[in-house]
């Protein structure tokens, strides 16, 4: 049994502009010790999916209108709120998109880390402080003994993000949801954080759901990938397979438009048009207004094709392995080696 199994999740927002089907039938699973990358362009529903797992969607306007979220076999969607609170922060931890605003400026980082520990573990304050200190050391905060009593504003962005990770990990969660943990950070700090997450995963064996829009980060850190487009899964596969022979036209388009896979100075491949806003998602396949392979059939909901090894694609005209290779490789030759 997978650690987390999301089945046909639907989270909609009921707003003035109508019902926004921001997450509309998303399914994926995460195993123990596995890093799942969730990629997609801004507004495709990555954060909403993550928030839905712990039922943290602002309600109203949001509501989980369908689907199951099975965590170790228990459905979090129907779990009583008391039970859910035990899961939050204990079994599943979240690192939010904005490290700068997720820490409370009036408490020291030590107090904030300890609070999470005291809430979920039966330890006294001294023990909690010891655990917190240990965590801060492990995430690589230099001079952790003194910095534990500092306030968030005294730390840099990278340090704050590490504190967030320390807090998230202090309860030894089975699943870590990291929503763009490095987007606000510099590349060198990003490399530090990603390395740290990988090390910790190896020693703790937790599952990680890594949300990002950076395909480079995915390629370098994830075992499997889910590609979201307009609130639906376009494709899911092992990282190697996805980058080697993507089958969904959207994934192909994304990979082909990356500047680091093209010869310098060449015209980049582009996907026609723009990401539709949730008010005017097309019917049927939501990518069909921009898809070069679209046919009349695409006005119907796309079927799922299982290509083996957990490679699944939701499309009427998935690309064959050879076509995909040809399309993406033609560009990769001049790419950044």
């Amino acid at each position: 049994m997978a650690l987390l199994e999301v089945k046909d999740l639907k989270t909609w927002f009921y707003t003035d502009d109508g019902v926004l089907r921001s997450v509309d039938g998303v399914s994926f699973e995460i195993d123990r010790g596995e890093t799942l990358g969730v990629v997609g362009e801004s507004g495709c529903g990555k954060s909403v999916t993550a928030m839905s797992i712990l039922r943290l969607i602002p309600q109203p306007p949001g509501r989980i209108v369908g689907g199951q979220i099975l965590f170790e076999g228990r459905d979090l969607v129907t779990l009583p709120i008391k039970e859910l609170r035990k899961v939050r922060g204990n079994d599943i931890s979240v690192i939010f998109q904005e490290p700068m605003t997720s820490l409370n400026p009036v408490y020291t980082v030590g107090d904030q880390t300890m609070e999470a520990i005291l809430l979920h573990q039966s330890v006294d304050e001294d023990e909690a402080r010891a655990i917190a200190l240990d965590m801060l050391k492990r995430v690589g905060i230099p001079a952790a003994e003194t910095r534990i009593d500092e306030y968030p504003h005294q730390m840099s962005g990278g340090m704050k993000q590490r504190v967030m990770i320390a807090m998230a990990l202090s309860c030894k969660p089975k699943l870590l949801i990291a929503d763009e943990p490095t987007t606000a950070l510099d590349v060198t700090i990003q490399a530090q954080i990603l390395e740290l997450l990988q090390d910790l995963q190896q020693s703790e064996g937790m599952g990680i759901m890594l949300i990002t829009h950076d395909l480079g980060v995915v390629a370098e850190t994830c075992d499997r990938v889910v590609v979201l487009y307009a609130g639906q899964v376009a494709e899911t596969a092992d990282t190697g397979a996805l980058f080697d022979h993507p089958a969904h036209p959207y994934t192909v388009g994304l990979l082909r438009s990356l500047p680091d896979r093209a010869p310098p100075g060449s015209r980049l491949y582009t996907i026609e048009g723009m990401v539709p806003s949730p008010q005017d998602f097309p019917t049927g396949c939501r990518f069909r207004t921009r898809c070069p392979h679209a046919s009349e059939a695409c006005a119907e909901l796309p079927p799922v094709h299982d290509l083996g090894d957990g490679h699944r694609v939701w499309c009427h005209h998935p690309l064959s392995r050879e076509d995909a290779r040809a399309l993406t490789a033609e560009r990769t030759e001049g790419g950044w080696q």
Binding site: P142, T188, I189, A191, T239, L254
Partner: protein, 343 residues
């Protein structure tokens, strides 16, 4: 890069900008942020120079100081034959036609209360490129079409557009004045992958069409690799390495450039590399480290590095490195020598 030598359109010499830092009740000056601390480089006509470096290293400040959107403290910036810091107010206003800027944030860079026509056409009237409002409107329509938007959008307001479309409007505003030189400050960083590719293509096309040169400020090394002819690598207000694109990517010589390149994620899952993990964060620019500013994080640093500021050594045509140990960096620096976590 063109074969025949053209005089540089832009020449920057020893540009300096420090921001004073005040503290306490009486706002006493307690120091200064050395945001840009003596940088020099040229941009040839038709060329793109990329300026890369981590957050806070002074890229934006450098770009804006060159255009005098921020008053530089000292240094020279020659644009199309005139030294911008020397211009008086009226001369500067005229000369602004030659140098434009495209911003990172597509949301704050367009005035929410002006129509697209006013945003693009205003400068045309101001600089006497067209004489009447009707002509300005017509020209704005042409430009909109050129950047891939419908001409009839001139009567709309910015909030009606997506981020990528707004960025195109910002680009149309910049090229409207037919400048020689455009600063693109993270012009594609806020855009999604699919839109980013569209805008990069547009910028490349316009460069040839209008015979522009760009200073392309960004931290995204894959974009730099795609569009730059030359690369300037900054660290804490200073240039640490400057070379052609090919040299920077194939033969980086400064330890910082090497670390930066190695940290940049690549989209090839089959070639997962061991990264150079730099310890610690970028130090504060208020009291930057003495000597070589990089020595607190550098895997090669020796005693000399903390004492003496390294000069820019010319190691090839167009390739300059500011490092005392530049001779030891022909092979990428040893990764295992650096501890993965801050000391």
């Amino acid at each position: 890069m063109t074969a025949e030598p053209r005089p540089p359109v832009v020449q920057v010499k020893d540009l300096v900008k420090h921001f004073p830092v005040y503290k306490g009740l009486f706002r006493r000056q307690v120091g200064s942020v050395k945001a840009v601390d003596g940088i020099s480089f040229d941009i040839q006509g038709g060329e793109t120079v990329a300026m890369v470096g981590e957050s806070g290293c002074g890229k934006t400040t450098a770009g804006r100081a060159m255009l005098r959107l921020i008053e530089p403290d000292s240094g020279e910036v020659w644009v199309s034959g005139r030294n911008v810091p020397d211009l008086d107010r009226d001369a500067l206003r005229n000369w602004r036609q030659k140098m434009q800027i495209i911003f990172q944030d597509p949301y704050s860079s367009l005035n929410p209360r002006q129509t697209i026509g006013q945003i693009i056409g205003g400068g045309l009237l101001l600089h006497g490129i067209v004489q009447t409002a009707a002509e300005a409107e017509d020209r704005a329509k042409e430009l909109l079409e050129r950047v891939g938007l419908q001409p009839r959008y001139t009567s709309r307001y910015p909030h009606e557009f997506s981020g990528g479309q707004r960025q195109r409007i910002g680009i149309a505003r910049a090229v409207a004045l037919n400048p020689d030189f455009i600063v693109c400050d993270e012009a594609v960083s806020a855009l999604d992958v699919s839109v980013q590719a569209q805008v990069i293509n547009l910028l490349l096309d316009l460069k040839d069409e209008f015979d522009l040169c760009y200073l392309f400020v960004t931290h995204d090394l894959s974009v730099v690799r795609h569009i730059a002819d030359h690369v300037v690598v900054m660290y804490l207000g200073q240039i640490v390495e400057r070379a052609s694109r090919a040299d920077i990517y194939a033969r980086p010589r400064h330890p910082y450039t090497q670390a930066l390149l190695s940290a940049a994620p690549r989209t090839d899952p089959h070639k997962r590399r061991k990264r150079v993990i730099l310890p610690g964060d970028v130090p504060s620019p208020i009291n930057p480290p003495a000597g070589c500013r990089f020595h607190t994080r550098c895997p090669l640093a020796g005693p000399r590095c903390s004492a003496e500021r390294p000069a820019a050594h010319r190691i090839a045509d167009d390739h300059y490195v500011a490092c005392h140990f530049y001779e030891d960096t022909t092979d990428p620096i040893d990764v295992t020598a650096s501890s993965p976590y801050p000391r």
